[in-house]
Structures are given as C-alpha cells and as structure tokens.
C-alpha cells in the first residue's frame, strides 16, 4: 500500500507545503511510501501542460497514482488531499478500483467555490493600489501563477464533488472545521454508495492552512489519522520495492536537479542549470515562510528565466521552511522567518555549489529573503553580487541612520570587496522608506558609489504577485548579472563553466 498526497493550490499550497512534508514524513515512519507532487504549472513541475490546466491537474493525480504503484510495487493506494487537492483526490478515487482509503482535509464540496475564491482574490487585488497594469483576462482565469482556460473554468464551475459516482466504495475520513452533522449531510450521496464516512475536527491539522510566516505554533498531529487508518484500512503493506528514482527534470533549455546538503543533509534545494552551462550561480532565498518556489511561484519563474539567459541558479529552503529540516529539542519545527539566523544555511549553499564545480556566486532575495541575502553577503566573501527586492531593513534592531548603522556598514563592506549590489523596490513599498532614511530619495546617495545600483519601479508590488511584475524583476536581474559577468569575462578560464 502507498499514499498519494494531493496538495492545495495557490496560497493553500504555499501555506501547507511544509506541514504536508511533515505529514508525509510521519506516514513514512509508519511504513507507508508517500508521494507528494506538484501539479503541472505549479511548484517545481514543468509548465508544458497543453491548453487546459484543470484537466492537466486531474490527469496528474492519475499519473501520480500509477507511477507510485509501479515504482514501489504497491497493490493499492490511499489518496489524501488538502482543499482543492481533496476534490482532485476524490475525483480520482471515484474512477479507480485500487483505492483502499480516501482522506480529505478541509475539502471544497464544489470546485465552483475554489474558482470563486480565486476570482474574488483576483478582483480585490486589482482594486487595491499599486497593482500596475492589468492583463486582459477575458475568458479564462489568471491568478498569480495559475492560468485556467475558459473550458477549465466551465468544468470547475460544474464539478460538484458531492455528486461523484464511485465505482467502488472505500473508507473515507474527512478532517474539517465544519461540524460532523453537516459533513454527513453534504456527503450523504457518498454514503448511499457505500462509502464509510468518518468525520473529524480539523484542529490537529490547522498547520496545513495556517499562514506560513507564523512560527512557534503547534505542528500537525497525525494521531487521529493514524488511528483511523489502522482501524479502517487493512494492513499487510509488505515491503516497498523502490526502483530507481528519476534524478532530474529536463526542459529544452535547462535541467533541474534536487540537491540535499548541509551538515546533516537537512537542507534541500533545486539546482537549475542551462544546457550550455554557466560560470556563475545565483542562490535564491525563501521569501517569508513560502517554500523555495516563492509567492506566486516567483522563485521558479526567476530560476528558469535565468536559465533561459544562460545563468545557473539554486533555489533552496532555509532550515525549518519548505522541505528543509530544523530541529528544536529533536522536534521538526518551523523556523522564524526573520529571527532565525540564515548565514549558516547560505554558506552551506555556497559550499554545496562549490562541490558541484561552481566558482562564482550571487545571491538573490525578496523581502525577508533580501534581508538574509544582505546578511550572508556581508559575512561570506565568496559572494560577489547581491540582488534584493523590497528589502525591508538592514537590521532587526531599530537603528538611527548614519555611519554606524548596519545599512552604512553593509555598503562599506560591499565596496571594499568590489561587490556589485542591486536594490530593487516597488515605489509604494515600506522597505523603500527605510532605505531612503539611509541613502536619500530613491537611494540617491548611492548613485556615485561604484557597483551599487538602486531601481524603483511603479509596476511591482511587495510580493511580485502578478506575472508581469515577476517579468520586470527577472529582466532587471538578468541585465544586472550580465553586466557583472561581462566585467569579469576577461578573468574567467573556460573550465569554470558548469555543466550538469
């Protein structure tokens, strides 16, 4: 027996990513092979999915189940899903005959509600200030990294999960904030088909949907889930037979490979290299509590945009975020977005890239990622270029501007090492106000400093929520790096170019 975990989407994906990894680890400790995967066009998955994203997602759940059974030799599957992932799991469970159990975490009862959530959020963002130009979204639905076609939206609006026809009945657990009576009432059509339904409160799994910038809160508690599984799903899992796992993800222009590194192999990142190789690698930091993919997948878009321009990147998860582990009193714990020291993780990332043959290093961060990027660039002389977007501050302590401030000290150090730095801000960003306290209107005081660049854009918001905002940031990052690389081109030996 093996388990497929179907993630939530959009903010549900970003918020739940780490906790779903914690759940997967807990299930694996119980002896279950577990597959978490990213739907097409999300997370680390590729973007080639044809015209219809929703249909591609449905297909991917089917493919995930088939792949897992084949890879581990499982005779049957348990499908689990969060929010819209719960709906996708249910759709797939209804059509298969090899499902031993179904688990739904805070499910939508109707895909229409998921569409409504996305549409509402998109409409409200467009009404908010400093959102730049809006695209022509007639027909389909584009929100952040998600781009549903018109047929997708029509199909989702007409998909009532409570009306699924199951080919085979299976035990089903629902963990929801809605009370048990209401769950039973809504899923009564399932029960009439022989589905044995058990409803639980959601409180043990709140972390799956908690805003990801909050640490110090309770982790998920899988006890009730495991108890249900032991009671309702026959044992006899047998020994998983794991055939060789794929090592990389390839596209026409780039290749990506997972890298585990750090003193305890506790850090996880994705190396993205252009086919022709690259002399320099850009380390991309987490922003906020988001996993390495970034808010609205900005980290992935940046990485692949860099690769298209011939530049290698390494997006990885800080310890205690995403897939990387942080232990406090031997417990896998989420780390604080700002207060957790990150220079060790970033030095380990440079070490890992050096071991892969890379010799030149730049570092890129947005918001809290920008803060940690500055800290790392200050202490690690191997970093030769820094790109920050919406840097909130140079120090967590309140400081008066001036020669003794962290801001001024950082610039002095960067100049001494002949580093280049790009500080990019949205014109309405609070970080720009802080920056200007030290360096004048739009960073004017840095204008004459060699290697220091300040860019203020009216068209980007704090998190680069829209594709065109990400495109602006990527364009300026590439331009900045290409200038840097051409400065040093004469000093490069050809054998420094990296290939994987």
């Amino acid at each position: 027996m093996a388990i497929v975990l179907c993630q939530g989407a959009a903010q549900d994906y970003a918020n739940g990513y780490r906790s779903l990894r914690v759940l997967a680890d807990a299930l694996a400790r119980e002896g279950y092979p577990v597959l978490r995967f990213d739907y097409p066009g999300t997370g680390d998955s590729r973007d080639e999915y044809g015209e219809h994203l929703w249909r591609a997602w449905r297909q991917s759940v089917k493919d995930a189940g088939n792949w897992l059974r084949r890879t581990v030799g499982a005779e049957c599957l348990i499908l689990m899903g969060v929010r819209i992932g719960a709906g996708l799991a249910a759709v797939e469970a209804a059509r298969r005959d090899d499902i031993a159990g179904l688990v739904l975490f805070e499910p939508f009862f109707h895909a229409r509600s998921f569409v409504l959530q996305l549409v509402t959020e998109s409409r409200l963002r467009k009404r908010m200030p400093a959102n730049g130009n809006t695209p022509d979204d007639a027909g389909g639905l584009q929100v952040g990294e998600l781009n549903f076609s018109t047929p997708d939206v029509v199909e989702m609006r007409n998909t009532d999960f409570t009306r699924l026809a199951f080919g085979k009945a299976m035990p089903t657990a629902v963990f929801s904030r809605i009370d048990r009576e209401r769950i039973s009432d809504r899923l009564e059509p399932w029960c009439r088909q022989g589905i044995k339904l058990t409803a639980y409160p959601f409180e043990d799994f709140e972390a799956l949907l908690r805003p990801n910038q909050h640490s110090g809160e309770a982790e998920i508690d899988p006890a009730a889930l495991l108890d249900w599984m032991n009671r309702e799903i026959p044992h006899g899992m047998g020994q998983a037979r794991i055939s060789s796992l794929p090592r990389s993800l390839k596209s026409e222009h780039w290749e990506e490979k997972i890298v585990r590194f750090g003193s305890h192999s506790h850090l996880v990142g994705m190396l993205c290299a252009p086919k022709a190789g690259s002399a320099l690698a850009v380390i991309i930091c987490n922003s906020g509590g988001n996993p390495r993919h970034g808010f609205a997948r900005s980290g992935v878009t940046l990485a692949r945009g860099l690769a298209d321009a011939g530049i290698t990147s390494f997006r990885f998860d800080f310890s205690g975020l995403g897939d990387s582990i942080h232990l406090e009193n031997a417990i896998d714990t989420q780390s604080d977005v700002f207060r957790q020291e990150r220079t060790g993780d970033l030095s380990a990332a440079v070490d890992a890239l050096k071991a892969l043959g890379i010799r030149r290093f730049a570092i890129h961060g947005l918001c809290s990622g920008a803060f940690h990027a500055v800290q790392a660039a200050y202490v690690d002389s191997r970093i030769e270029a820094l790109i920050t977007i919406n840097l909130p501050w140079f120090s967590l302590r309140h400081e008066a501007p001036g020669a003794g401030s962290s801001a001024q000290k950082s610039i002095v150090e960067f100049k001494k090492r002949k580093m280049r730095a790009l500080f990019m801000f949205g014109s309405g960003d609070a970080g720009l106000n802080q920056f200007e306290r030290n360096f004048g209107q739009a960073g004017h005081d840095l204008a004459e400093e060699p290697g220091m660049h300040v860019l203020v854009s009216e068209d980007i918001d704090h998190e680069l929520t829209e594709p065109w905002m990400q495109a602006i940031a990527i364009r300026e990052t590439i331009r900045f790096l290409e200038d840097r690389m051409s400065e040093r081109a004469d000093n490069l030996a050809r054998h420094e170019v990296l290939s994987i």
Partner: protein, 81 residues
Amino acid sequence: MTIRDTILSMMQDIAQRQKKTLAPLTDTLELLDSGLDSLCIALLVAGLDDELGLDPLSSAEEDRFPVTVGDFIKLYENANA
C-alpha cells in the same frame, strides 16, 4: 443562525485562523478596512458558497462589488431570500 450571524461568525473565524486583527465590525465599515486582506475575503466568499450554496458575487458587476460589511451582508441576505 441568520445569514448576518453566519457571515460575522465566519469573518471572526477567518481572522483568527489567518492571524489578522479584526476591526470592530459595523455595517459602515469598509471591507478592506476590516483587517481582512484579499485572501481572507476570498476565503469568506468561497466558504459561504461551499457551505450555504450562495454565490451572489458572480452576478455582481465589477463596480458593484460590496464596499462595506453592511453591503456584503445585504447582498447575501438578498440572495438567500
């Protein structure tokens, strides 16, 4: 529970889960000043549709999206009538 009570209860619940500080809810309070961000309001709308089957916003035109808490409640009360 009335539609009004359901909406106010859900707003408080969402604010708590999303770690937002909710302003005192009055009919004249603008939604975007309530302390709820766009995601929170989207969760509210999706939750009302999923639990109650009410979706009056799909027929609301862009310039008639409810501005205040009172507008929002009235829209849903009318849809439920």
